[in-house]
């Protein structure tokens, strides 16, 4: 997926009607959801020894060291992260589409019933 601009992402999520601050809050929530997905993928891959090593780096407050160590465990970390982000966004867009279609179907069905009466 080509890197999305903010406007493109806002449009994709159908949150254009919100004001900027509300959009930003929504994007923060999205980022948190992506973060959770990424963390699962990372922790799934790490062994106990890897965790011990990471914890040592954390104790030393070596932020760069932690980042470097994690990325070394994945062949192409950046691509993986980007793909994870895309995966979460696409899931949301699909789920939103399903939800809105269900609403529309039910609404149409309700209107038809009323019209017949």
């Amino acid at each position: 997926m080509a890197k999305l601009t903010r406007d493109e992402l806002v449009k994709k999520l159908e949150i254009e009607s919100l004001d900027f601050a509300s959009q930003q809050a929504m994007l923060e929530n999205l980022a948190a959801a992506v973060s959770s997905r990424l963390m699962n993928k990372i922790t799934e891959k790490l062994s106990d020894e890897d965790i011990d090593q990471l914890n040592e780096l954390i104790d030393k407050d070596d932020q760069d060291g932690v980042e470097w160590y994690i990325k070394s465990k994945f062949e192409h970390y950046d691509e993986m992260a980007e793909a994870t982000e895309e995966e979460v966004i696409n899931e949301l867009v699909e789920n939103s589409r399903r939800a809105n279609e269900a609403i529309e179907r039910l609404q149409n069905s309700s209107n038809s019933a009323q019209a017949q009466n």
Binding site: L4, I15, A25, A33, S35, I58, D78, A81, E85, A99
Partner: protein, 722 residues
């Protein structure tokens, strides 16, 4: 002639009989039982007169006419003189006891009405909340009009409260705390005590009258002899004359254990401190008399305020609401998430094997199913919210009414053009044209600046709310898996915490999002926060998706606190109230006002929902020009009700003349669901806190005067009783 028994004329005389149970002293020496003394001799002057007559007859002389015959002594008591414990007290002593049980017998159960002032105050708060919401989407002249309307309504409410309070002073009523106001004494009592017969008069008052307690708390005898002992141990030592103790024994003989304990507690308390008569009166549980302050103003007993944290059970009938169903589905979804997380982490074990994978597959399917359920429940909820869109309803109603009017107008004009020149026809045409103009003007108010009607206000906000919820649900799944993994391997915890605390690391956030300046700090609004954020959860259009979810959660728990009950009640009332012009309701007739009972009247809520979703029939005007315009579709009998007492407002009339509180939800529903076809239109009639504006009487028409409304109420309540 029988000898008249010697009457004890002076204290100290001995050899007078102790009465056995059932015996009384009277001039005829007749033994009768069960008779109690009059509270005031004058109240039973006829009885005394009879005694006097008997006395005179027995004596045959009038010399002793002035002497009062001995009054019967209460059954089961013995009388003592002040000095000789064995002697009989002279009930005709200079200070006869007036503390006699009442002859009134069992007090009638009071007709207790509910305090409507609280409802008015709640209504005022709702008006203010409504206005707060209106401020978001009104502006200019509309906002000014709304503000002026609010001020006028609040002023009217204050007047109503004042007149209500003036009225309530003369009534027995139950306030919001459940305490009962006594119309006679103006004091408040707990409900269970309100109907106690008057024989249970203030216990301590009786003891005072029996000289066992003094006006200042302790009689001199007590004061001299009490050694209070340890305050906490409640030990009292007496060295007091036997006579006092025996008199005390007499009074306490028929007292309940509770009264006995309270007496001794009182003595004990009095022994430890000086207590003023006013303080004693205020703290006396037995006292039902108003407390007179130094300013000689009566004050009322304080009563406990309602505990907002008290839990109440939610009626099961509310399970049917879309909000409740949504909450249940979400709960099931979250439970499924937990099972999925467990299965997923189990499947990652080296020896998970086939069973582990199978379990994961099943958990995944279940999760998918629960999500599908969520999609459906969400659709039900949103469609339900759409139907409650107040502005949309108002526009629909007005449009429907205009269609109806124009259709009828066309018919009538056709008759006129065909040669019908009757006065009634001309009047009806004129009336319809006038109404058409008014409705058009009202519809203009609902137009947007560009001339379009936007019925689906804030639909995009609902869409955004749904997206936010979906993001949260996605995070729920991943968080659950992560949590499961961390719980099984505590080594992960430190790393997990570290990533959370260092959100700017590119590890935790996607690249695109990083570029947008977000750091992944989740700010999901918990549903219940949404309720507090929007005040009382009023439905202002579509922007209440989160509120409705919160409401569903509250109901779904099965029990809620009183404060939450208020929120839910307000939500249900707001979401079901019709905010279109009341004129619309009046004229169309079939578009009856939606009246929602409060949560305490579940049936009202469900009826209102049924009414909300019912299909509305618009009656067609018959070609006969003499037929009233507002004839409803249903074939209800035509009525002819003459107005009754136009000077009384409906509530007053019902209370004073029908002895019925029309604010009571049961009575209210009786009025609304009457079988006579009478339709009331009012403002916020739910829970009885509103006002009836008009009544439609089949065969007669629509009236706004109190006289016709009173007549309709009386007709309904009379016919329903029959």
């Amino acid at each position: 002639m029988e000898d008249i028994p010697q009457q004890p004329n002076h204290p100290g005389e001995s050899d007078h009989p102790i009465l056995n149970e059932g015996e009384i002293l009277n001039v005829d020496d007749q033994v009768s039982s069960g008779e109690t003394l009059p509270q005031d001799a004058s109240e039973n002057s006829s009885a005394l007169d009879e005694e006097q007559t008997n006395y005179v007859t027995a004596q045959g002389s009038t010399e002793q006419e002035d002497e009062l015959p001995a009054l019967p002594v209460p059954v089961g008591t013995t009388a003592f003189s002040t000095n000789n414990p064995a002697s009989v007290v002279d009930v005709n002593s200079p200070e006869p006891s007036v503390n006699q049980p009442s002859y009134e017998g069992p007090a009638e159960n009071k007709v207790i009405i509910d305090d409507p002032v609280e409802d008015i105050r709640n209504r005022m708060e709702k008006r203010k909340d409504n206005f707060d919401v209106q401020k978001f989407y009104l502006s200019g002249k509309q906002l000014d009009d709304a503000e002026n309307q609010l001020k006028a309504d609040l002023a009217n409410d204050e007047v109503e409260i004042q007149s209500m309070q003036d009225y309530l002073k003369t009534r027995d009523y139950k306030d919001a705390s459940g305490n009962v106001h006594d119309a006679t004494t103006h004091a408040f009592k707990k409900e269970e005590d309100a109907n106690k017969p008057k024989e249970e008069e203030p216990f301590f008052e009786k003891l005072k009258n029996k000289k066992l307690l003094g006006e200042d708390g302790l009689i001199d005898e007590w004061k001299k002899v009490i050694k209070a002992g340890d305050e906490e141990s409640k030990i009292l030592e007496f060295d007091i004359e036997d006579e006092i103790l025996e008199r005390l024994e007499t009074e306490l003989k028929d007292a309940s254990d509770d009264q006995k304990m309270r007496f001794f507690d009182r003595i004990h308390a009095l022994a430890h401190k000086d207590v003023s008569p006013e303080e004693e009166a205020v703290t006396a549980e037995e006292s039902t008399e108003p407390v007179v302050t130094d300013d000689n103003e009566e004050t009322e007993q304080p009563y406990e305020a309602e505990d907002p944290n008290q839990e109440v059970e939610v009626p099961k009938e509310l399970d049917a609401l879309a909000e409740t169903q949504m909450a249940k589905v979400e709960e099931e979804y979250l439970e499924s998430v937990k099972r999925y997380a467990k299965a997923k982490v189990d499947a990652e074990k080296i020896f998970a094997g086939k069973s582990g994978k199978q379990a994961l597959e099943e958990a995944s399917k279940d999760l998918q199913q629960k999500f599908d359920n969520w999609i459906n429940a969400n659709a039900e909820l949103v469609v339900s919210l759409k139907s409650k869109n107040a502005r949309g309803n108002a526009i629909s109603d007005l449009t429907a009414e205009l269609d109806y009017l124009r259709e009828n107008l066309t018919d009538l004009e056709a008759q006129r053009d065909a040669g019908n020149s009757s006065t009634e026809l001309a009047q009806q045409i004129e009336e319809l044209k006038k109404q058409e103009a008014e409705d058009n003007a009202l519809l203009e108010e609902y137009k947007n600046e560009d001339g379009s009607f936007n019925k689906e206000l804030k639909a995009d906000i609902v869409k955004a709310d749904i997206m936010e919820r979906l993001i949260e649900m996605s995070k729920n799944v991943d968080d659950a898996v992560l949590e499961e993994r961390v719980s099984r391997n505590s080594k992960f915890a430190k790393f997990n915490n570290w990533v959370t605390k260092h959100p700017r690391t590119r590890l935790g956030v996607g690249l695109a999002l990083t570029g947008m300046g977000v750091v992944g700090a989740a700010t999901f609004n918990a549903p219940l926060v949404a309720v507090s954020a929007l005040g009382r959860g009023l439905l202002s259009g579509f922007g209440s998706y989160n509120v409705s979810r919160a409401i569903g959660e509250m109901i779904g728990r099965g029990r809620m606190k009183r404060a939450e009950l208020t929120s839910v009640t307000n939500y249900l009332e707001a979401s079901n109230s019709q905010t279109s012009s009341t004129r619309t309701s009046k004229r169309v007739g079939a578009a009856a006002a939606l009246i929602v009972g409060s949560l305490t009247s579940v049936l009202g809520v469900l009826n209102s929902h049924a009414e909300l979703h019912a299909v509305k029939h618009i009656p067609k005007l018959a070609s006969n020009p003499t037929q009233p315009i507002n004839t409803p579709l249903l074939q209800t009998p035509k009525l002819s009700l003459a107005p009754i007492d136009n000077n009384q407002l409906p509530w007053d009339y019902a209370m004073n003349n029908l002895h019925t509180n029309i604010s009571d939800p049961n009575v209210l529903h009786q009025l609304i669901d009457n079988k006579l076809g009478i339709k009331f239109v009012g403002n916020n009639l739910s829970g009885g806190s509103g006002r009836i504006f008009s009544v439609h009487i089949p065969g007669q028409g629509v009236f706004t005067d109190s006289g016709h409304i009173n007549a309709a109420i009386e007709r309904i309540l009379g016919s329903e009783a029959a």
